[in-house]
Symmetry: C2
Subunit: 405 residues, 2 copies
């Protein structure tokens, strides 16, 4: 008999039929004698509708009231899920985030979980119930309703699994698990049986849509082993856990491609201290998220000057250009070149630490494919390159072939 | 500076535009320096949609989970109403029933308010906020979410007004107030300036749709004076309060017509003790709500026997017939006659107590109109007659003319 925390996202509970499917899955675990805690999101579309309604009244509504409003989405789902479990003869009780003892700080719309006292969860489990907990939400010490921000339901599940010392945490989604690459682009991509927290974190930050970084960080911090798997079938998913020695045998865990980036280059930045600081402070003040940064001495004639390049999300390019244009006099660069026609290709793997020649092999593979590398950035377990957008998918397939077959 | 509790029903908050209208009205009271507590219902249609969703999953869903589900309706409205107040520059905070300190018993879907400790309401009022409270809902001592059943938002408003010792409680609805008769039937019907709790209670039980009896009873018990008025205009409404001496000067406060009744007559019930008890216990066991009951000795030949008539809501007639048919042997009546083609006409007024001849005048008026009276039932401040359905509206106009001009 195990204690299992299962999380179902908005698509998995998108209508009454799907909620019944969730109930059937829960029943199959109960039949084996397991105790089950179910964490659910709002039904798909519900949160967006509520946001739309609020913005019809006021373009920038109060964050406290948005939390009050959005928390109803998950509350609706927990009640319907409990009813679906009753309809197939299972005992089940729903709990809001507050009732489940999820205490957060008071930063509305992106609250952090401070602690969990799942007294009611234990009571209802002990009484033989499946307990359904509203994801994404909590309550401050003072009784204010809060929400946890994007990916909040995953966080609820992982934090509850930690607090309950659950034997297993399953994150049900609409994909089978974590793949070596996007299977829509790379036909030979394989589902991974396991992946380390750090690799998962790199993939998350590289645009893999499976999970938000903060949930993975939380799981890593509290050592919660979780499984990403599909709510549409019974296939085993991908186990996410602390790195093991055997993981290092695999050089590269996965390849990811981010086509949503744009590149900005400041040409001829005078080589004096503080230029980079001025530029990136101005971008940060404008809440523009900068990803890669590369600087090189440019060997032109005259005074020493550098070229400075960085990437931002495409939708923020215009805003970034405006900020940079405003710095022309202060920084004294010669010109700005913006390029939307790029992509970022990355390889991730903890095996990189103990294997040499990984970067060389990647660059060689790209050279063979006539892919011109515009920027390079590396971390301990990741190598990213920026290349021409049109060659991105071809490059991804070649790199996947070279490292993962 | 007064403290005002205002309640807005589902139609008054049915869409973002109407919610903005509510905000504008609240603002006009704030501008006068009043403190305002707003109680709101779910947006019209929302509760029905949630019920439909639940019944798609299970025909008879758990009452605890229905409360969890339906409570989201009002929670949505309070957030949107707070946002609407912010949008016109007012400070406002929303509170769920639980946060407003509304403690109920644990009878899900029809909980009773046990007490109110409106600590948070006071705090937010003192800080200069309009406080918006979710109607219809509360929380048990143990933290379970409950709902108060039909008309629950009115009850929330009146109970809050009592707990806060409010100077005024306004129930905003889609009619201008309480009328001497339904203006759609009686063109000369007038809006009443005031009405006593008891008269209002009789009218509520007679099918006047303005308010549920329990809210009026609660107001009477705690002496909460309230005003029923329209959210569509600025006309003063009807004040509902304890009877005053001057109220007795008016013989009849209003006339009501209920066209939703059906009559069942058991002919030739042997005149022995216990027959009525058997009949009405069986009907009660089948949860059939019996309204009027009239019994008369029938002067036929043979053994002494009586005719026993009662009325039920039309949709329950079939069910009632089945129950009565099942009692044929036990009770030993001769035959059953059911009549759907009837209506109930009532006159209500505390002045009846001190004025004689009221019943006589009513019967005389009906006789002049050639309206045959099938049943009569009276209380201290009410006279009801059952007549042929087709003559109902004509009879109502005549009686209104006779007593109210």
């Amino acid at each position: 008999m195990a204690l299992i925390v299962q999380k179902y996202g908005g698509t998995s509970v998108g209508n009454p039929e799907r909620i019944k499917n969730v109930a059937a899955r829960v029943a199959s675990y109960r039949a084996k004698g397991d105790q089950v805690v179910v964490v659910v999101s709002a039904m798909s579309g519900v949160t967006d509708n509520l946001i739309k309604l609020a913005k019809e009244i006021m373009p920038l509504p109060s964050e406290r009231e948005m939390d009050m409003l959005l928390a109803t989405g998950e509350q609706t789902t927990i009640a319907l899920t409990a009813i679906a479990l009753h309809s197939i003869g299972l005992q089940a009780t729903s709990l809001t985030g507050a009732q489940a003892g999820i205490v957060t700080d008071g930063v509305h719309t992106k609250a952090k979980i401070q602690n969990i006292t799942p007294k009611q969860v234990h009571q209802h489990l002990d009484a033989g119930n499946v307990v359904i907990v509203a994801g994404f939400q909590g309550q401050t010490q003072e009784g204010q309703i809060t929400t946890l921000g994007r990916g909040g339901s995953d966080l609820t599940a992982i934090a509850l699994a930690a607090a309950l010392k659950a034997d297993l945490c399953q994150i049900y989604t609409d994909v089978d698990g974590v793949y070596t690459a996007d299977p829509r682009i790379v036909k030979t991509a394989r589902k991974l049986d396991e992946i380390s927290y750090d690799e998962m974190l790199e993939l998350a930050s590289l645009g893999a849509k499976v999970m938000q970084s903060r949930s993975v960080e939380f799981a890593k911090k509290f050592g919660v082993i979780f499984e990403v798997r599909s709510s549409l079938n019974d296939n085993p998913g991908t186990i996410v856990k602390e790195e093991t020695t055997s993981m290092e045998d695999v050089v590269i865990r996965g390849v990811s491609l981010d086509k949503n980036q744009a590149k900005v280059t400041l040409v001829g930045v005078p080589d004096k201290p503080g230029s980079a600081s001025v530029i990136f402070k101005a971008l940060a003040d404008a809440t523009i998220n900068v990803d890669m940064i590369v600087q090189n001495i440019s060997h032109g004639s005259g005074t020493p000057a550098t070229d400075l390049s960085f990437t931002v999300d495409k939708p923020e390019l215009l805003k970034a250009r405006k900020v940079i244009d405003g710095l022309k006099n202060e920084v004294g660069y010669r010109e700005v070149v913006a390029d939307e026609n790029i992509c970022k290709l990355s390889i991730v793997g903890v095996g990189m630490r103990s294997h040499s020649g990984v970067a060389a092999k990647m660059f060689e593979t790209l050279a063979k494919e006539q892919v011109n590398i515009l920027m390079i950035s590396t971390s301990e377990i990741k190598i990213s390159v920026v290349a021409e957008l049109g060659k991105g998918e071809q490059a991804m397939r070649a790199v996947h072939q070279a490292f993962l077959g």
